[in-house]
């Protein structure tokens, strides 16, 4: 049975309203402050490091993102950890909040489809994240200009833009997940707890669990162990399992984009590197090729999770 009329009627209206709500909410302010302050601390460490060491580094700006000084992790690592928190904060009560406020049936009684509400909310969340991340990106470039005094080159800007795009899709995965949970669970508290649980699992526990599971699936070969090497099977399994976590995908993609000398993201045999000039930077296009699978995975994750939420939402009863 076909429905008449456009499913996107009202998307713009919903998006503008939700964007305004997001940007003015206290919740968002707190999350932004948290990210900006930790990011500033990381950048401060990186800038101090860079001032002392490499004045002749051709990718000074990119180092700002990746250099870490103990005890703080690098700017990118902090983002990989905190972007999910921000996305979850935006999405965990997107739909069940409307249910609980009893606004859902009233809004859906207007001449729009449910699609418009869900798509509008998702786009508003993504736009909020994009605005925040772009602001952070500008902040990094600005601080780099002020404290390092070296204007960034075209390639550095291009690479940092790639960082921005990948970071937005990384946020998109978590936003989709949070919205899916907000559709499945009627209580926002449950949805938030489940989302945070998944976040902790994937960012903190999974990096520890993946090698353990890999060793159970493909036990390490004692011959390699004798030589102090990882067994290839175990290493591949570890990597495959790790890549189930969007956090890992984001980290790999960042490595490829922000460290131009990265040649491969998985285990390689020595003979595959024959003829390679180790440490020499790759051109941008090659770096993008390396991180392309990770980027596509993040985009696919965003879409798959959103579609799952969409399907559940379409079949859900409106009445409270």
């Amino acid at each position: 049975m076909r429905r008449e009329g456009s499913p996107f009627q009202g998307v713009g209206t919903v998006m503008v309203k939700e964007l305004a709500d997001n940007l003015s909410s206290a919740r968002m302010l707190v999350l932004e402050l948290l990210i900006v302050l930790t990011a500033l601390a990381a950048l401060y460490g990186a800038i101090n490091n860079l001032k002392q060491t490499t004045a002749e580094d051709p990718f000074l700006l990119l180092r700002l993102f990746t250099v870490a000084r103990a005890p703080l992790p690098s700017f990118v690592a902090i983002l990989g950890f905190l972007i999910p928190l921000m996305a979850i904060g935006l999405g965990f009560d997107a739909v069940n909040g409307e249910h609980n406020r009893r606004t859902l049936s009233r809004v859906l009684a207007q001449p729009i489809y449910r699609d418009a509400l869900l798509v509008g909310k998702f786009l508003a969340g993504l736009a909020t994240l994009a605005i925040s991340l772009t602001a952070l990106w500008l902040m990094v470039i600005g601080l780099g200009l002020i404290f390092l005094g070296v204007p960034p080159g075209t390639e550095e800007i291009a690479r940092s833009l790639a960082f921005l795009v990948i970071a937005i899709f990384y946020a998109g995965v978590w936003l989709s997940l949070a919205m899916l949970l907000s559709i499945v669970f009627r209580s926002p508290a449950t949805a938030a707890l489940v989302a945070l649980g998944i976040w902790l699992l994937l960012t903190i526990l999974w990096p520890m669990l993946a090698p353990a599971i890999a060793q159970a699936i493909a036990p390490p070969d004692p011959r390699y162990a004798l030589l102090g090497l990882d067994s290839p099977d175990t290493a591949i399994w570890t990597l495959t399992l790790s890549r189930l976590s969007p956090n890992h995908l984001f980290g790999e993609a960042m490595l490829a984009v922000l460290s131009p000398s990265t040649r491969a993201l998985g285990p390689v045999f020595i003979d595959q590197l024959r003829g390679a000039l180790m440490g020499a930077p790759l051109p941008l296009s090659q770096s993008l090729l390396i991180c392309w699978p990770q980027t596509v995975s993040l985009i696919a994750g965003t879409i798959v999770l959103f579609v799952a939420g969409y399907v559940v939402f379409q079949r859900q009863e409106v009445r409270a």
Partner: protein
Amino acid sequence: MSDPDSKAAPPATGSVIEARALTKTYGDANVVDAINFDIFRGEVFGLLGPNGAGKTTTILMMLGLTEISSGTVSVLGFNPARQPLQVKRRVGYLPDSVGFYDHLTAAENLAYTAKLMGLRPAERASRIKASLARVRLSEVADKRVGTFSRGMRQRLGLAEIIVKQAEVAILDEPTSGLDPQATLEFLGLIEELKKEGVTVLLSSHALDQVQRICDRVALFQAGHIVLMGPVTDLARQVLGAGFVVEVEADGAGLARRLATIPGVTNVEALAADRFRMTADRDVRPDAAYAVVGANGSLRKLSVDEPSLEAIYSRYFQNQTDNGGKRDAA
């Protein structure tokens, strides 16, 4: 935004909503079981019945907010399952215990839904202003809805329907939880809508209110419409007659005299000088005449309007007396 009203509704035949064998099934249970009804233009139609009888589900099916399991319903000539936007553009809905965005003001809340309706900015502002005035919320238009009482929220919900200039207003339990003053005010607003020619469909438990404003009612029970029609007709159907007249008077053979009045179906002696007559019309003048004719002195003569409450309780009482044979249906 382009206007997608390419297909106009078929010419009005008088009925704005037609349901035929409308059914909603959850699992094995028929929540709404093959109901038929017509709602005519400009009338106030009441849906009555206990909780869980299928009233809200019926309403949601009319708006295309829940899937129809089988049967059809047409609203203003449109099929809500296929053309929900056309239906929702013309039908206003006030859900059971309506909610608003508490951090927005009354006017902002209306502006959001008015935008969703696709109204132009200038039109939007004037309609919102007018509708807030209609429901007497003008002075709190710029206050946050979070501070509103329940009665004010209900009126704001009605303002939304007025902004939409809906042809049909569907109100689900609009007066539940309101204090008597707020209830009266709200019923007055519904009557104003009716005067403007808006067809009103409301569901309620508050029988006396429904009786006051509804032209016709449908009584729901376990997914069926068990009774439908004007209240007086239902009274005749269920109570046996439309009017109950009580006479307090003395006089020789008064009971016999009263029983011979045309239209009286039953005379019950409550006491030596008190009689209750059931009749299909208002027989008070005849009763007074009979008392005078019997040389009696008339002390009290009163008529009970057929009350929906009596119909309702009598109906469900009959149901249990009959051993609930409808349960098998």
